[in-house]
């Protein structure tokens, strides 16, 4: 049986499509599991798709004083989330043509641009809670930034590049690479960063309706219809992108396609969804085991992430790690 070879460009498109199409599935799976852990029946796994379909059929309401930024913001954010999957190892172990377009910092910039666009759109509404949310999201985004920088430094010190593909390849090359202290520290630090960026406990209660505790969630309060659908879809994609980075670069860079054959790539898609759901399950358990930190205590959480990332750089600097 002849194996069908995919062109690199086709795989590149498949990477984007995987994130685009399966992000709501992962969100739905996590929401379902979370409900189960709390003893509720919960929504069905495909619920996010129905929600999106419903929202796309509704009309868009724009606040009276809002300008075009209100409309463009969610679209810009959505486009950013479509660009990032081209830069990171979603399906393959080998870098795809556009994979060299940006490194970890480049991906981080694009994710930050998306966050900035959403924050602008929220600030544009004039709604107090949306503005509060965008202000907080920007503040905590800035506070977690040092940890992300030091994670990048660690990757650069280990691999002498800061392309995510190379860190994953280094971890895959042998067991001693995968369990070296610097790698474990940086994986743990990135885990905390993902916890923060996906708006999970201990930073934020993602399913709460209480506006005062909200950070990311509050930003979308004033949007409706297709724009709200874009924001929801975008946040599901952001979550999946971060899970992909966590799993395929740091924690478990195994199960990716090593060749361009169709079968391997399809298998990688299935494996990716499985791994993303597994990470989601861990986050759900954390969600149900801890309480939310008070807003002014979140800095302690950031300090912990920073500590882990800086220790990784320090031990590498002394010739260990």
């Amino acid at each position: 049986m002849a194996t069908i070879e995919l062109a690199p460009a086709q795989i590149q498109v498949l990477q984007v499509l995987t994130i685009l199409l399966f992000a709501p599935l992962v969100s739905g799976g996590i929401a379902h599991l979370e409900a189960r852990l709390q003893g509720r029946r919960g929504p069905r796994t495909l619920q996010p798709y129905y929600d999106l379909a419903k929202l796309f059929r509704k009309e868009t309401l724009v606040p009276e004083d809002a300008s075009w930024v209100f409309v463009v913001g969610p679209m810009v954010a959505f486009m950013c989330y479509l660009v990032v999957p081209m830069l990171i190892p979603v399906l393959t172990t080998f870098p795809l043509p556009l994979g060299y377009m940006g490194d970890i910092l480049g991906g981080g910039f694009i994710l930050a641009l998306a966050g900035f666009a959403v924050a602008l759109a929220a600030a544009e509404t004039g709604g107090p809670y949306a503005q509060l949310g965008s202000s907080r999201a920007m503040t905590f985004g800035a506070l977690i930034e040092p940890s992300i920088l030091f994670i990048t430094f660690t990757v650069a010190l280990i691999t002498t590049t800061d392309l995510p593909y190379f860190e994953a390849a280094a971890a895959r090359s042998s067991l001693s690479q995968a369990i070296r202290p610097a790698h474990l520290l940086v994986a743990l630090a990135f885990f905390l960063v993902v916890l923060n960026d996906t708006g999970r406990i201990p930073v934020e209660t993602h399913a709460s309706t209480l506006e005062f505790g909200m950070i990311d969630e509050a930003r979308t309060l004033e949007h409706s219809g297709p724009l709200f659908a874009l924001l929801k879809w975008g946040s599901a994609m952001k979550q999946m992108i971060l899970y992909v980075l966590l799993v395929n670069v740091f924690v478990a860079p195994w199960g990716l396609a090593g060749s361009r054959s169709l079968g391997a790539v399809l298998l990688a898609i299935v494996a990716l969804i499985g791994k993303a759901l597994a990470v989601g399950a861990i986050f759900t358990v954390i969600d149900n085991s801890f309480s939310k930190l008070r807003l002014f205590k979140i800095t302690e959480f950031m300090a912990a992430a920073f500590l882990l990332a800086i220790l990784a750089v320090l031990v590498l600097d002394l010739g260990g790690g």
């Binding site: 090359s173 800095t299 800086i310 002394l318 260990g320 790690g321």
Partner: protein
Amino acid sequence: MVVVPPVPSSFSGGTEAIALVVLLTEFAMLRAPTARSQIRLYAFQSLAVSALAVFVAATQHIDELYVLAALSFVLKVVVVPGIVLRLLRGTRADLAGSNRFGVATMVLVAIGISVFGFFVVGNLSVHSHSLPAPAFGLATAVILVAFLLVILRSDVVSQAVGFFSLENGVSMASLVIAAGIPLIVEVAFLFDLMVAVVVFGVLMRVHHGRGRTLSTEALDRLRG
């Protein structure tokens, strides 16, 4: 195409991993909310130091260190935390109202001083085949952060636990730099610790008896 970076040897990597656990426990003590959780963390840290002794003994084939590991397990994991917890029985369980700074500030200051410790060790230019420099740097950081624990938190238990964990840092440094020093010297460290336990025990009892609190903020009320 992929450059495979060098990995530390298993001895260096192992000591480093255990030393990291010890340092992270030290940071956890710095932010621990209650006195009791600090003491439990101290017991855990001592367990890690004992494990380091066993690891060094096994990899460097120094049998004396097994004795040291056993001694330090009995003393630092079982006896000392037991005594301190006993002394604390009946005292009011203070929540961490004793911090001079917020937790995030303390952690940042501690990170700063650990970086200083690392740079000092890095510039000592001790080059030895068997010396794992990162573990030495981590031990230095443990000692410096233990000092901070004593300085920044103003309750008697933090000061005691800070001093005890300082001893943990010193014994960790001695394990990684000079694993072969005579057992009697290592045991002398442990003896120092016993003296410190007695002194701090008396301090805690007297201070709590006079001031009805474990906070050192109240010390200036003891005048006259």
